[in-house]
C-alpha cells in the first residue's frame, strides 16, 4: 500500500485523484497527453438513455476564478457509450471507471444505470441528480430529499455495483438531502456539483450563455464546496467524495481533512490538462511538508 492509497466502496485506489464528470470526456483525449492509469479513477461524461446534443451555444462564460458552463449533458447515449466509448477507453485505461448517469425520469436513470452496471470496466455508478443545465431532469431530483431518495432507491435496487449519489449545492439544506440518500441505500455521496450562476454581456445586454444560466465552477467555489463536504461528512456514515474548485495538492489535502475519502477535479482540467498528473506527483512532497504519512489517516481529521 502506498502513502496515497484510499479505499472507495471496497475498491482500492492508488490515489484519491478522480477527474470529475464532464471535464474528462470518456478519457481518451487526455490519454494522448499522459498515461491516465496514474489516476485513482475518473468519472466519465454524464450519460443518458438517449443521445443528447445538449444546449445551444454559447455554453461557456469566463468568471473571476472560475467559469460557467451550460453544456446540457451532451452525450452519445448509453448504447453508444457501451458499444463505442468503453471499448476505446479499454485501450488506454486498465482500471475501473466511474460511470456517471443522468436522466429525466426514474425509469431513465434505472435503464442507463443497469446498462452500465453490466460493464466489467465500470467500478461505480455515480448518479447525477444535480445537473443545473437541463430542464425537467437532473437538479429537479436533487433539490428535495424525497425525490433524491426515490432515485437513489430505484438505482440501488437495479444495480450490483456501488452507487454514488452526486449532490447539488443549490439547496437550502445539503445535510437533509445527504441523509435522505444515505437512508435510501447510497454507498457514497459526491459533492458539490456546480453552483447556478449567470453572466451578462455589457455590449449586447444579453446573458453570455444561450441557456441564460449555467453551472459555476472553479477555484471561486472551493470554500463553499469545502464547507458542504465538511457538513455532509459529519452527518453521514458513508464515504464522501469532495469536489468543487480543487486545483492543487494542498486543496486535495484540505478536502480530505474536511472529510473527503477521495477528491474529484473538474474545471481545472480544462485550463491545465496536466493538472491531475501534477497533483498526483506533488502530493508526497506536500504531505511531507505537513507531516502526513498516509492520506487515508487524515480523512475527516477536522471535527
Amino acid at each position: 500500500m502506498g502513502r496515497l492509497n484510499v479505499s472507495l466502496c471496497g475498491i482500492e485506489l492508488d490515489n484519491p485523484i478522480i477527474p470529475a464528470s464532464g471535464t474528462f470526456g470518456y478519457g481518451y483525449e487526455y490519454a494522448d497527453l499522459y498515461d491516465i492509469n496514474i489516476l485513482g479513477t475518473f468519472s466519465f461524461k454524464g450519460t443518458t438513455k438517449d443521445p443528447r446534443f445538449g444546449n445551444p451555444t454559447p455554453r461557456i462564460a469566463e468568471c473571476y476564478s472560475g467559469m460557467i458552463n451550460a453544456v446540457g449533458l451532451q452525450n452519445p447515449g448509453v448504447e453508444k457509450v457501451v458499444s463505442e466509448e468503453l471499448p476505446k477507453l479499454k485501450k488506454c485505461f486498465d482500471k475501473k471507471v466511474m460511470a456517471n448517469v443522468g436522466g429525466f425520469s426514474v425509469e431513465e436513470y434505472v435503464y442507463t444505470a443497469r446498462m452500465l452496471d453490466k460493464e466489467e470496466q465500470v467500478g461505480w455508478i455515480e448518479v447525477n441528480i444535480s445537473c443545473p443545465n437541463v430542464h425537467g431532469g437532473g437538479i429537479a431530483f436533487g433539490t428535495s430529499p424525497e425525490n433524491a431518495a426515490v432515485i437513489t432507491k430505484a438505482v440501488k435496487e437495479a444495480v450490483r455495483k456501488p452507487v454514488i449519489v452526486k449532490l447539488s449545492p443549490n439547496v437550502t439544506d445539503i445535510v437533509a438531502i445527504a441523509k435522505a440518500v444515505e437512508k435510501a441505500g447510497a454507498d457514497a455521496i459526491s459533492l458539490i456539483n456546480t453552483m447556478l450562476g449567470m453572466r451578462i454581456d455589457l455590449k449586447t445586454k444579453k446573458p453570455v450563455i444561450a441557456n441564460k444560466m449555467g453551472g459555476f465552477s472553479g477555484p471561486a467555489i472551493f470554500p463553499v464546496a469545502l464547507r458542504m463536504v465538511y457538513q455532509v461528512a459529519n452527518a453521514v456514515n458513508i464515504p464522501v467524495i469532495g469536489m468543487g474548485g480543487v486545483s492543487s495538492a494542498e486543496d486535495v489535502i484540505e478536502m480530505m481533512l474536511a472529510g473527503a475519502t477521495a477528491v474529484q477535479i473538474g474545471a481545472a482540467n480544462l485550463v491545465d490538462p496536466y493538472i491531475c498528473k501534477d497533483i498526483i506527483e506533488k502530493l508526497p512532497q506536500v504531505m511531507d511538508k505537513y507531516n502526513i504519512d498516509n492520506l487515508k489517516d487524515i480523512i475527516g481529521e477536522v471535527k
Binding site: 464532464g22 471535464t23 474528462f24 470526456g25 483525449e29 487526455y30 494522448d32 497527453l33 461524461k45 446534443f53 445538449g54 451555444t57 454559447p58 455554453r59 461557456i60 462564460a61 469566463e62 468568471c63 473571476y64 476564478s65 472560475g66 467559469m67 458552463n69 453544456v71 451532451q74 453570455v208 472553479g218 477555484p219 474545471a267 482540467n269 480544462l270 485550463v271 491545465d272 490538462p273 496536466y274
Partner: protein
C-alpha cells in the same frame, strides 16, 4: 497538443486594435495552417484561443484583435514576458482538396489563419487568389504580407474607402476549384451561397478547454455533432448545417 512556456519576441500594433504577437518556444505540434493556440493569462481563468498566422522552426505568430479583457491584457504585454500556451489545437485546413487554383476569403480577424495556408498552397505549386474583407480602410492589415507571398490579392471594404466596395463575395475570381474561408458567421453564410465549388470554412465559438474535453463548443453538422475546437475549427462546406 503540447503545453509550453513561450517568450514574447514581438507584440506590435497593426491597426488601432489589431496586434501581431510572435511567441518563441516549442512549436513542433503546430502541423497545419488553420490550427489555433490557447493562451493562459494572469488573472483570467479560461485560456484564450487565437488562430495561428504563421510559424517557423522556433516561433509562432498570431494576429489578434482586442475584443475583451484577455486580448486587451495581451496587447499590453512586453517583449521578453512569458506565456503558458497550448499549441497544436484544431484540425486545420486540408490543402489536398484544392487541385490547382484556390481562393482564400478572409473577413477582419478571420484573415490571419489564411496566411500560413496561402504559404502552404503556394509551396505546393497551386495558384492562390486572396480576397481580404474589412469594414473601412483604417481596419486593413496583412495586405502586403499576402502580396509578398506572390498571391493575387484583392481587398474589399464595406464603405468603399479602399479597394473594391462591398464584401469578399463581390471580388470572387472568375474561376477556382476550391475555396478556403474564415470570418464572421454572416460572411461565411454569404460565401457558402456565393460559391459553387467545394470549400472549407473555419468557425469560431466560445470554448472551455479548446482540446475536445468539455463539449462547450459543439455544433450540429450534416455528418453528426462536432466539437469546433477538436473536430474543427475547419469544416467542409458539404457538412455544414446552418441552424437559422
Amino acid at each position: 497538443m503540447k503545453q509550453g512556456i513561450f517568450t514574447i519576441a514581438e507584440n506590435s500594433a497593426l491597426t488601432s486594435n489589431v496586434f501581431r504577437m510572435k511567441l518563441v518556444g516549442d512549436v513542433s505540434d503546430i502541423t497545419t495552417s488553420g490550427q489555433f493556440i490557447n493562451i493562459k493569462l494572469d488573472g483570467l481563468y479560461l485560456r484564450r484561443p487565437i488562430s495561428v498566422f504563421d510559424r517557423d522552426d522556433d516561433s509562432v505568430t498570431v494576429i489578434y484583435k482586442v475584443v475583451g479583457h484577455g486580448t486587451e491584457q495581451m496587447s499590453t504585454m512586453k517583449v521578453g514576458e512569458k506565456l503558458d500556451v497550448l499549441t497544436g489545437l484544431g484540425n486545420g485546413y486540408d490543402t489536398s482538396l484544392c487541385k490547382e487554383h484556390a481562393v482564400l476569403l478572409g473577413g477582419g480577424v478571420g484573415v490571419p489563419p489564411l496566411y500560413m495556408l496561402a504559404k502552404t498552397l503556394i509551396n505546393e505549386g497551386k495558384k492562390v487568389s486572396v480576397v481580404l474583407g474589412f469594414n473601412t480602410k483604417e481596419e486593413i492589415f496583412c495586405e502586403e504580407d499576402f502580396k509578398a507571398l506572390g498571391a493575387d490579392v484583392k481587398v474589399t471594404t464595406v464603405d468603399g474607402s479602399y479597394g473594391i466596395k462591398g464584401f469578399v463575395t463581390d471580388a470572387l475570381p472568375e474561376s477556382y476549384d476550391h475555396f478556403f474561408t474564415c470570418g464572421p458567421e454572416p460572411m461565411l453564410k454569404a460565401v457558402y451561397r456565393a460559391t459553387d465549388t467545394s470549400g472549407q470554412m473555419s468557425f469560431e465559438e466560445r470554448m472551455g478547454c479548446g482540446f475536445g474535453a468539455c463539449m462547450g463548443c459543439s455544433c450540429k453538422t450534416l455528418t453528426g455533432y462536432k466539437r469546433i475546437c477538436k473536430d474543427g475549427p475547419v469544416m467542409l462546406k458539404e457538412e455544414i448545417l446552418w441552424e437559422d
